[in-house]
Structure formats: C-alpha cells, structure tokens
Symmetry: C2
Subunit: 329 residues, 2 copies
C-alpha cells in the first residue's frame, strides 16, 4: 500500500517555539534552503505579525526560488493577520482556533458558533487571492468529537484545501489518532493535516498512525523541536516510513537528513539526541557480541534500515567487555 | 481501565549495549539503587558470562537489600550460562533464542525444533532452583506468526513465568504490536513481556500498545539507551501511562525521574535529550504568546502533565519576539 502524502516542515514556526530556539535571519535562510533541497512539500513559517523581523524573513524566503516546495505561514484567524500574510507573498496560510473547552474558556472565550462566524470572511479573503487555506481545530483531542466534526464540515464546505488535526498537548495515543482521523476522513472531502506533540513520547507513532487512518499532510520539525519537548522529528517520520514503505520516501534527498539535524543542532547549541532515528551518532552502531558477529555475516540480522540509503556508515564495535565471550564462539 | 503491569528496567543490560555506555561498578551500584528507590519491579543486568566484572557486579547487587524489586540477568539459552547466573543469586533469568529466518540462518543456524529441544533442560534447571524464567523469541516481528506461537506455546507448557516479545530491529508499528501481542495473549497462559527498539521512533508508543493488547511486563532503560538508538525510555513510558491513567503509576517515586535521567546522562557524558518526556529541561516551558497568556490563566490549557507530580516547575517565557503582540492583547 503506497500512500500519497506531503510533509509540512514547521521548524521555522513550531520549531521557533522551542524554549531555547532563537534563529537569526541567516539561520532561517539556511534552514529553508536545506528543506527545499531535501524536498519537503511545504515549509511553514512564523506569522509575520510576530515581529517586523519575522515579516521581513517571510518576505525574503517567499522571494527565493523554492522549486516544488510551497511556503506557508501560520497566523491567527483574523483578517488583519492574513492580510499581512498575503502581502508577504506566501502560497498558503495555516489558520486555527482553539476548539477544546479548555481553550474556548481560558484562551479566547468564544463559542463554536462564534468561531465559525469568524472563519468565513478569513477563508474568503485568502480564496479570492488564490492562496491555499488550511483550518485547524487546536487541541483537537480534548474537543468533543461532535464539535470537531461540525467545525471541520463547515470549513470543508467553505472550500478550504485542508483541515488540521492538532494534538496540542501531546495526549493522543496511536489508537486515539486512528479513531479521530478516521472520523474526520469520513466527514470531509478536503485533505487532512496532522500535528502532534511529544509529551507522551508518541509524536512519531501518532504521525504515522494519522497516515494509516487517511491523513494526507504531516507536520514535522528538524530534530523534532517545538513547544515543551517538541513534535514529530522529520528524520523520525522518514525512518518510520522507510521501514514500512521505502518507496514512499525515495523522492526525498535522504542522504541530507544527517546534515539537516546536525546543522540545526549546531545553531541551537545542542547535541543530536542519541535516540534520533537515522541521524544519531550511534544509530548504526552494533555492540553486543551476538549482534556484531551476526552483522558481520549479514547486516540485515540486526539492521532494518540500510545506512547507505542515508549516506551513513555501519559501525561494528569489536573488543570491549560485552563482546568478549560471544565473539569467540 | 486500570492495568496491572511491571516494569523491567534493563539499563544495566540493554543500556550497556549502547555504543557509548561504559558503566563502572560504582555506576552500576548507583543505578541499581536509584531504580530500587524509584520502585521498578525488575532490574535486568548483563550476563555474568560477559566478563568477570559483570559477574562480580551481578553478585554485589544481588546481595543488596532490593525491597520489592527483583533482580534478573539476561543470558544465552544454555546450561553453562544459567548455572553461573544461578550461582550469582538472581531471582530470575531472561533467556532467548533468535527465531526469525535472519537470525536462525545467520546467527545460530538452528531450526525451530532444535531451539525447542535446547530450551527444555535450561528451563527445568532454573525451575528446580525456584528461579523465575522468561523465554523470548528474539526478532519476533520478523518471525512468521505460526513459528512464534508454536515456540511460545511450547515454553508456556514448560511452565515459564513469562514469554518475551522483542522488536529487536525496531520495525514494528503500534498496529503490529497490537496484532502480535494479541495473538500471543490468546495462545499462552503465562505473562507477556515486551521489548521494543526505537529505529522507527515508535519505542514508547509500541510499549504502550503492548500493554493495551495484554502485555504484563515492559522493558525500559533510563533515557532509552540501548543498541543503535535505543529502546523505550523509562520516563517516556511513565509519561504515556500518566497521561492515560495517572493512578497506574502513582506507586512509583515519580519525583525521582529527573534525577535518574540526569544521573545517567552525566555518567555517559551526554545531555538529557530535549525531547525526553517529563525530564527534559524544556518539558514544561511555554513560549508562544497564545500559550503563555492562556497558561497564566489556567495551566491545563497547554499542559496535560502536571509538573508538580514530578517535582518539576512550569517555566512561562515572557518578553521575546514570539510573545510580543499576543501578550499585549
Ligand atoms: O495549527 C496547527 O494545526 C497546530 C498548531 C499547534 O502548534 C498546536 O496545536 O500544537
Ligand atoms: O530478551 C529479550 O526479550 C530482548 C533481547 C533484546 O535486547 C532484543 O531482542 O532487542
Ligand atoms: Cu504545536
Ligand atoms: Cu534490545
């Protein structure tokens, strides 16, 4: 089963919301260029309303030759914000409203009716300018399913390109994701984007479960940076897809993944986590004696991902204490 | 739905197989003591056959007051190895055989029949000494299901305490885990342990899916260290369980989690990954203006895990570029 999907890399929006991320304009340009070369379908950037620098950087990157990559920005759902976004020259705008009781009461104070009343003019404004629109229900997994479906069906009828399902607080399990994405898949005709946080350690599995249930667009960031402990890492999603359907990721510049992770880690002054898929220093290291012996005979014994497909090398550790006896057998 | 489960922490076995892990005897003692205080049900240590030091450390830790925590070691499935294990004073031994065609051909060259013939005497040896026995099919997810069930049913009839399902090369999705664990659950009476690698970024989600499907024991390591890019992190599994059923983890010393992760990271000379659940420096940091504003009104808006339950503090970042406009609303 080969799926059609698109990657929405939001390192330059969600990633900037990671507590220790402070990208310069030059950093943003470097990241955008690397993502274009890697081949993600979309790059999402911080709202131009966040600061004059964010607006300026959005304009510069919109003016670059982006090949097949489309530039999005992520704004609040009001005319002032999307107007500025349109002036910056983006191909699409990702808008959202919190729909959970938590966010309706404590963040913006609006009822579902009031939210729907505000979405219409914003969507029409963008449509008149041939700008792609995506509408998300923020905190989807704490929103009652009837409210969720009601909002998605309403915006689907408005003709948005896609709806977004967001696990804003990172509570969903893969089963939850399958259930909610499946219900939305049956309720709308438009595309479905999924965005999931990692508070419960399931961001990558949830992104994959969303694809299994019919999502078409997945949000990632380089390394997985984002609010709190982040969202699905680009290299993690690629690893998961490669394991299940290598042909589905063959169009991306896979040997660039390590460069992407290391470049952004250097900008942030952090290590690439040892548990990063594909790009971790030790991702292809084999240590236990039973493993090293078998890997030397046939790498597939303990290796489901081919390091060569990602420009990496296998590292068979020989001669430490755990190898001792086994290597002599 | 509150589940009964036990945590098998294998930092001192699987964790030692991480390429850059080189614990001293003092490190091992520190780690074992912290795990006992935290309250894991089992600690698994490297085989005493690996080196004289491993044997000596296993004996020292077996001689400690371990409270309700049981000490296991992980050995090859032969009489010589389990004999030494028994002499070291462990409460249980985890044994295994590779059952996938890859491992049968390239690692040990045995048929399923030959494997079964070797298991019997080893299990009986341990049973005669009242030592718990667990038998795993290594590389379960690349083993044909009929072979898997045949082996598990045979060892179940021998009276082992539990069987182990191992995603040795990290290829399983949560759906795969549910399917295989569910099939084993229907085939055996004994307990079921799950051990899953993180090559596809799904180790924590897979561990949780195993519990949903009827597994009773889950393997973790501190930080998630292990071969290649590791297995399910203890703090990740706890976070996932806390989100779904906080009462199921209330018996552990939750405020110790950060200490566990930071102690082991310091021993290894690495950072606690920014994406670690609960224990990452930024796990409870809120940055975007919409988030900070709402979190100040009610933390639950953007926080599904209560930092206080883990002895941690919320960190609301104010006054940087992403906060600007929103904070003024
Ligand atoms: O707009 C979206 O779909 C996601 C917004 C966001 O970052 C979140 O809800 O976590
Ligand atoms: O004994 C087990 O269940 C697990 C062994 C192991 O580390 C693996 O298969 O990855
Ligand atoms: Cu987000
Ligand atoms: Cu393992």
């Amino acid at each position: 089963m080969t799926r059609q999907f698109a990657i929405v890399d939001t390192t330059l929006r969600e990633g900037e919301q990671w507590a220790n991320a402070h990208f310069s304009s030059a950093d943003r340009l470097t990241i955008a260029n690397l993502l274009v070369q890697f081949g993600v379908e979309y790059i999402e950037m911080t709202s131009p309303c966040a600061s004059p620098q964010s607006a300026a950087d959005l304009r510069s990157i919109a003016a670059l030759p982006l090949g097949n990559t489309k530039l999005l920005t992520h704004t609040r759902c009001n005319l002032e914000d999307v107007q500025l976004a349109a002036e910056c020259g983006v191909a699409g705008v990702n808008i959202l409203f919190g729909t959970s009781p938590y966010l309706r009461q404590w963040s913006h104070g609006r009822s579902i009716e009031a939210i729907l009343a505000e979405v219409g003019p914003v969507v029409r404004f963008l449509q008149e300018r041939q700008i792609e629109v995506r509408f998300s229900c923020e905190d989807s997994f704490r929103t009652p399913l009837p409210d969720l479906l009601r909002v998605y069906q309403a915006v689907d009828l408005l003709g948005v390109q896609r709806v977004g399902i967001a696990d804003t607080v990172g509570i969903a399990t893969p089963r939850d994701v399958e259930r909610v994405v499946g219900a939305v898949r049956n309720a709308v005709r438009c595309d479905i984007e999924f965005h999931g946080h990692n508070d419960g350690g399931c961001a990558i599995a949830n992104a994959y479960a969303a694809l299994e249930a019919g999502a078409t667009h997945i949000d990632t960031t380089i390394l997985g940076i984002g609010e709190r402990n982040g969202i699905a890492a680009l290299s993690g999603l690629i690893a998961r897809l490669y394991l299940s359907e290598p042909e589905s990721v063959a169009g991306y510049a896979l040997p660039m993944l390590a460069q992407l992770d290391h470049t952004v880690a250097a900008m942030l002054g952090i290590q690439v986590p040892f548990n990063a898929c594909i790009t971790s220093e030790t991702a292809f290291a084999h240590k236990a004696g039973l493993h090293t012996k078998a890997v030397l005979a046939n790498p597939s014994t303990y290796e489901a991902i081919d390091p060569n497909a990602f420009g990496r090398e296998r590292n068979v550790l020989i001669g430490h204490r755990l190898t001792g006896r086994h290597a002599l057998q």
